[in-house]
Subunit: 404 residues, 2 copies
């Protein structure tokens, strides 16, 4: 199998001089078309979908043994651009640049790191804003409903395409952690280790509730128009409200207090008006406004539904029983002030795995940064991830030697 054979763009090696220390440098997004009919992807819902375009990026080099590949899974609003820059003038590097690069948690001197935009996204991978092959017009909400397992199936298609027999690790925070867990459960032979961070084994009632209110805000926007808005104005107001709700859940009460407290926005006295009084109001509005520039409202609907459906325990008498299929070595990381995916849920996974005799490490990092800590507590996660990956790599090699 030839790797990259159907890719639209070659990997661009950045000139060494322009690379910041610890950065993977310039990267080029790549695209591949998978699941072309008649080999469509069979979704959990029973629907079939194909072809599926997958946008992805890679950092570092796949070694000759093809045993150093790590898949990074992104969260709700993320994309395939996890590290480096697309152009020298790009203001912000990829979303997990703090963790991916030479000498970083996911060390690109040693590992071949892959990140792809997930199914139903709006960053290059097929989703509700993509053209429906049957009509040539955007799918809208005629796009089939997808689950975390379906997202993993598409990622497995990409890993097959890249010619990787077994991933060294699958890692991700939040919804990315759900994908890491799903990988270990539904493809136990294809993954050596998983690193689920700030996540859960099933979305809670409160999590579903927050998602539903965000969706209701989108449905209530007249521009949403039952999802058919691609030829007209977008449901920006609704999507911004959904994002603002989300943002409150990503921070903690403490971090909001530390960041904003009751500070006023650019004034020393109240206006006693409906204009912005407090910094925290201004912050939220700004988050909403930024988000609508870069995200598709229908994708937001599909992605939050995929989270809602996520439940590894479904059909099993206990969490422990449901994780019996999980054979990967696991490093679980939780954060003390995360109330969206509370550390107690991570501990429950760790205890269930331990009960099954699995190789599991649970690290709880004390942080007041809330759910967002998975993107911020770089030092803590790096200290845990580097030795874990080294150990996983050694074990993967030993196992291969034994089987030869």
């Amino acid at each position: 199998m030839t790797t990259h054979s159907h890719d639209h763009a070659p990997v661009a090696a950045a000139p060494a001089a322009s690379v910041e220390p610890g950065s993977v440098g310039l990267v080029q997004p790549r695209r591949v078309e998978l699941f072309a009919p008649p080999a469509e992807l069979e979704l959990v819902s029973g629907a079939r979908l194909g072809p599926v375009t997958v946008q992805y990026e890679t950092y570092g080099q796949l070694n000759a043994a093809r045993d150093n590949a790590i898949l990074i899974c992104h969260a709700l609003s993320g994309d395939a651009h996890a590290a480096g820059r697309h152009a020298p003038e790009e203001r912000e590097p990829g979303w997990w640049d703090s963790a991916i690069g030479p000498g970083k948690a996911f060390d690109t001197d040693e590992h071949f790191v892959i990140c792809s935009n997930f199914l139903a996204g709006c960053k290059g991978t097929t989703g509700p804003s993509s053209p429906d092959p049957a009509t040539g017009r955007p799918w809208g909400i005629r796009f089939p409903m997808v689950t975390i397992r379906d997202m993993v199936s598409v990622q497995r298609g990409l890993i097959d395409h890249l010619g990787i027999p077994r991933l060294l690790a699958v890692a991700g925070g939040s919804m990315g952690g759900m994908q890491a867990l799903e990988w270990a459960v539904s493809c136990p032979d294809r993954v050596e280790a998983i690193i689920p961070i700030a996540t859960t084994w099933r979305l809670s009632a409160q999590g579903i509730a927050f998602n539903e209110v965000g969706r209701q805000a989108i449905y209530a926007d007249p521009n949403w128009n039952q999802g058919d808005y691609y030829a007209g104005p977008s449901p920006d107001a609704g999507l911004a409200i959904a994002r603002m709700i989300g943002h409150i859940t990503y921070l903690s009460d403490q971090s909001m207090h530390r960041k904003f407290g009751r500070n006023l926005q650019g004034k020393s006295n109240y206006d006693y008006s409906f204009a912005t009084e407090f910094q925290v109001e201004s912050y939220l509005r700004h988050q909403g406004e930024k988000f609508i520039q870069r995200f598709d409202a229908n994708s937001y609907l599909y992605i939050t539904k995929a989270m809602d459906y996520f439940n590894l325990g479904e059909g099993f008498p206990s969490l422990r029983a449901s994780l019996g299929r999980l054979r990967a070595k696991s490093l679980l990381i939780g954060f003390s002030s995360d109330w969206l995916f509370p550390p107690a849920e991570m501990r429950a996974i760790a205890n269930a795995l331990r009960g099954n005799g699995a190789d599991v490490t649970y690290l709880e990092i004390h942080s007041d940064a809330g759910h967002d800590a998975f993107l911020l507590e770089t030092a803590g996660i790096t200290r845990a991830i580097r030795p874990f990956l080294r150990c996983a790599h050694t074990e993967l090699r030993r196992r291969r030697e034994v089987s030869l």
Copy 2:
């Protein structure tokens, strides 16, 4: 001063036979007009407002010494109808019927209990849906911004009108607790005791954030029309979303899990569609739909802003210094799973008062009901409130005897 002189309706004594045990029976809402020009209410913002119509109810009898009056303050979506029924066929009794009545926490055999709809409300007291005397048309957002202190000023006007020199107690949960604290701080000579429940001394950044997202949902509804919607369709969609957001914060993760878990709504398998899948989604939508039947969106804006502005510590070097003015005997009640107004904030108030040598009791009730516990944990609050009020009453009488 003649009590009730400007009242629109006399107290209707319910026929004894129709009264349920422990119920105050049939009650009649009352209205009084206060702050008629030129004696307008001077608001914290500097604006003047008058006349102000106040809707209120009373339960039990004011005694000859006029020393058994308790003011109950309601929360965001409450009203003056705290106990009993307006008609025998009324489905639900007043919002705190579990705590007000013969033999209950606020025992109407002993006490004269008053509850009034607060300023800027939409349940009979002057607010943004009331006619602006200058134009005869609803105020909309031309209504002046009000604060918790302004709400208390209107309540003090009512207490003056009722001829009550000193309240035995002011009690309330959530925003009602803010009013109780404000009473003790701004009218220290008019209140013997306060019972702030599940509240805080200042709204946190997270609290402001949730309020702001709710307001943004209302602003984003095209029917809101800058607050001028009284002649046309109401901004129901926006108000429903604001209410849904609020409802998530009133419950706890645990109580949502206990009530709904991941139970499906009227089916045993997923539809994989945007129709309601989970019970918790259906519950939230229902809460939103119920709320728009009975609440005014502009009132929601004004009331959440009043919460935002609430900060007893403002202008003081410490919470303890700011509470130096507070001389009332205090019973503070917090609930372990309340994350909107976490018990730590109640403890901070109690510690500050203790530091000032004030007479304070803090009770933390273990409950998984979240913020809503203040309406649900009746047994626990009753056990604390009854002896506290008895003791406060004894002290009020002793003090009066000493001063005679």
